[in-house]
């Protein structure tokens, strides 16, 4: 089992083998997490700092639980309230933290590329917990694990990703990951919410949701940000729901056993029908949350191994 990366900044630098390595290890943690005694000590002695420059409840909680179950000393820093507001630059913040010798740095930032920039300035392993519209690698990995467990494989599946692709880091990471694993990817959404030249990513693009959903194995819905709803990108919330909201009628066009996914938090009645989201026969949304903890444990363990191996005091 090899995973030759210092950081987890995105799916882009990973190969199919790296992805499989993380998912296989995550399977072990799924089992561990379901036990009553969930503790491991693979990160014992290591310090994990969660730096969130953008609000997050679920992702931050998921990383925090993952670190604590592996025995790391976990600290959360709510960066919105901190020195950034006092005019300190990102690099200075990074250098300050670096001087406290963290081992794992989990970073979310509203600007694309900010986590890459930070990773260049620190000596520890950096995990990207979402940067701007760029990447959100652990989300794509947890989605992949969820799909693999539900479908029994992670290749030759037909997967629809629906909604605001343009502003979504989740979509970018998923397109990259699912493409690397050789799946057919369909993107569904209004053309105003599609990134430019997205057709060059080896995907099929649909602005008609009914056509796009035909015979897919997986329907992955994206959250529509509130600030995109009024006039600028789409005419209105209700027209969006009518054309691109997932309901039972539209889902009937997919394969009978197609699963429904959503990275959360959901806007019920905007992009997804509430009843459908709760349908335990179709929706794997709760499984995604469960897989999130396992995947993050696996990713941190692999990075910690490389970190220990790279340090001269390695025992």
């Amino acid at each position: 089992m090899s995973f030759d990366h210092r950081h987890l900044l995105g799916i882009e630098p990973l190969g199919p083998h790296d992805i499989t390595t993380i998912l296989d290890l995550a399977e072990d943690y799924v089992a561990l997490n379901r036990q009553t005694a969930k503790h491991s000590d693979v990160l014992a002695g290591l310090t994990q700092i969660n730096m969130f420059f953008e609000n997050s409840t679920r992702t931050q909680a998921s990383f925090e639980i993952a670190g604590k179950r592996l025995g790391a000393d976990v600290m959360n820093m709510a960066m919105q309230a901190s020195s950034i507001k006092k005019g300190e630059t990102l690099i200075d913040t990074a250098l300050t933290l670096n001087a406290m010798h963290p081992d794992l740095l989990v970073v979310r930032h509203p600007q694309s590329g900010a986590v890459d920039l930070l990773a260049q300035k620190v000596n520890c392993a950096v995990l990207n917990a979402g940067d701007g519209r760029h990447e959100h690698p652990t989300q794509a990995l947890l989605d992949a694990l969820t799909i693999r467990r539900a479908k029994g494989r992670l290749h030759r599946l037909s997967i629809a990703i629906c909604g605001d692709i343009a502003h979504s880091r989740v979509a970018r990471s998923n397109i990259l990951l699912l493409g690397k694993m050789e799946n057919r990817i369909r993107l569904i959404g209004p053309p105003t919410l599609m990134p430019s030249r997205i057709d060059q990513f080896g995907v099929e693009v649909f602005d008609d949701m009914n056509a796009g959903l035909a015979d897919v194995d997986v329907v992955m819905m994206l959250r529509l940000q509130r600030e995109r709803m009024d006039g600028g990108f789409i005419p209105s919330e209700r027209e969006y729901y009518h054309r691109y909201g997932l309901d039972a009628e539209k889902l009937a066009l997919a394969k009978p056993d197609a699963i429904v996914m959503h990275p959360g938090p959901m806007n019920r009645g905007v992009e997804i029908d509430g009843t459908l989201a709760d349908d335990i026969n179709r929706s794997v949304i709760q499984d995604q949350v469960e897989m999130g903890v396992a995947v993050r444990m696996a990713a941190m363990e692999l990075l910690a191994r490389n970190l220990r191996a790279s340090r001269p005091d390695a025992a």
């Binding site: 882009e12 630059t89 990102l90 690099i91 930032h109 600007q111 694309s112 590329g113 900010a114 890459d116 920039l117 940067d131 701007g132 519209r133 760029h134 990447e135 880091r169 970018r172 990134p195 430019s196 030249r197 997205i198 060059q200 990513f201």
Partner: protein, 426 residues
């Protein structure tokens, strides 16, 4: 009377489109003879060029010197030294300082500073509208009297077409040159890269290359209305070229420039969010770069400029969207431009037409030529000499070059302004 004879030179004459061995005689700061056989006056200093290239010095339209306001980024002294080392004998400076150069008083301050500190010629441009705000035109007449050679709001587009058409009409009456940045500001608002696969992959806000053509189309329509003298600072996309060609064919008084970065780099050079590659307009697709080179070769695009824009480390060491735009280029302009020659895209006389002759002509300057009577603003350079650029060696106070660590070919050996050496390579 002092006379200097440059012998054994390879004379690059953009006016005659010639490149041949010969000698050049300079007397009292002016060229008095050039050619294969030049009579040597008695007592003349002899400079043996050892077969290296002698060309008219570069006239660089659009250099930002950060005085007044941000002298820590670039002063007239540091920019002047960089220009001399880069073979730029005339810097045509931008008014996008803090405050903007929009009054005769500020212009006089700048001229005084420039004359005291810079070893090369400095010709200032002034803002077209007060504070570059796009609302009221500046005192174009007074500013011309004070020495402004052109009027531009730099990267601020005058969005109000009524204001812009009046400014163009007024400028026309004084025969003033207006330089504009063709860009549709609504479409390009907030963008920091060109839209396309790369922008989508990196998740950065992007502008369609069409925004440049839309800006140019609008400006051309206003030129048809007003008949003004107009120069587009940077044409960087294939889509804008047919409009430019039609405007020239229709006899409008229009010329166009392009920055050295858009000729030698493309959008992929941004790679992992490298902010030293963030320029305005953003770097384009490779197809656009190639189309612009062809337009330059055909004479559709007239002028190459450095778009020298100093930014300190603090402005660049930020996430890509927040980082400041611009790159320094006075010292890298010539070696970067020589890449086009080494690649076989251009010959040396064509290159120097775009670097020296055309900008001089557009501004009505006598330089940019090797003809008798022209000022002896000259550069002696070795077009082949290889080196690896180390940004620590740059003379600019700011060292935000995209060429750091890159292999380049071609170095300035000496720079002369009015016959006097202002730079000699070590």
């Amino acid at each position: 009377m002092t006379a200097t004879l440059f012998t054994n030179a390879r004379l690059i004459d953009p006016e005659a489109r010639s490149d041949h061995p010969g000698s050049l005689l300079v007397e009292n700061g002016r060229i008095t003879a050039a050619g294969a056989e030049v009579a040597v006056p008695e007592g003349a200093n002899l400079i043996d060029c050892r077969g290296k290239c002698l060309a008219p010095g570069i006239v660089d339209i659009g250099v930002k010197v950060c005085e007044p306001g941000e002298r820590h980024k670039e002063s007239y002294r540091s920019a002047g030294l960089a220009a001399a080392a880069g073979g730029v004998t005339t810097m045509v400076t931008r008014p996008d300082t803090t405050p903007a150069i929009d009054s005769p008083e500020t212009l006089e301050f700048v001229t005084r500073r420039a004359n005291a500190a810079a070893p090369v010629n400095v010709l200032p441009m002034a803002a077209l509208t007060k504070g570059r705000q796009g609302r009221e035109m500046t005192e174009i007449g007074f500013l011309m009297d004070a020495g402004a050679v052109a009027f531009t709001d730099c990267d601020h587009v005058v969005t109000d077409t009524k204001v812009f058409s009046r400014a163009l009409t007024y400028a026309r009456s004084l025969n003033a040159l207006v330089i504009a940045h063709p860009q549709d500001p609504g479409l390009s608002d907030g963008a920091c890269v060109t839209s396309g696969k790369f922008a989508s992959l990196r998740g950065l806000p992007a502008v369609s290359p069409m925004a440049e053509r839309m800006g140019l189309d609008r400006d051309i329509a206003l030129l048809e209305m007003t008949g003004a003298r107009y120069h587009a600072d940077q044409i960087t996309t294939a889509r804008a070229l047919p409009a430019l060609q039609r405007a020239k064919r229709n006899g409008l008084d229009i010329t166009a420039g392009v920055s050295i970065h858009h000729l030698t780099l493309n959008e992929l050079d941004v790679a992992d969010y490298r902010t030293f590659f963030k320029v305005k307009p953003p770097l384009r697709a490779e197809d656009d770069r190639l189309a612009v080179i062809e337009a330059l070769r055909d004479g559709l695009i007239d002028i190459i400029c450095s778009m020298h824009t100093p930014q300190d480390e603090e402005s660049k060491r930020l996430p890509f969207e927040e980082a400041a735009s611009g790159a320094v280029a006075l010292e890298t302009l010539l070696p970067a431009a020589l890449r086009l020659v080494h690649n076989g895209d251009l010959d040396l006389p064509t290159l120097f037409a775009a670097l020296s002759l055309n900008p001089a002509r557009r501004l009505g300057l006598p330089c940019g030529r090797l003809a008798p009577g022209a000022p002896a603003d000259l550069i002696l350079f070795d077009p082949d000499k290889p080196f690896v650029l180390d940004r620590a060696t740059l003379r600019s106070k700011s060292r935000n070059t995209p060429f750091d660590g890159q292999r380049m070919q071609g170095r300035v050996l000496a720079t002369y302004v009015a016959g006097t050496a202002v730079y000699r390579s070590a």
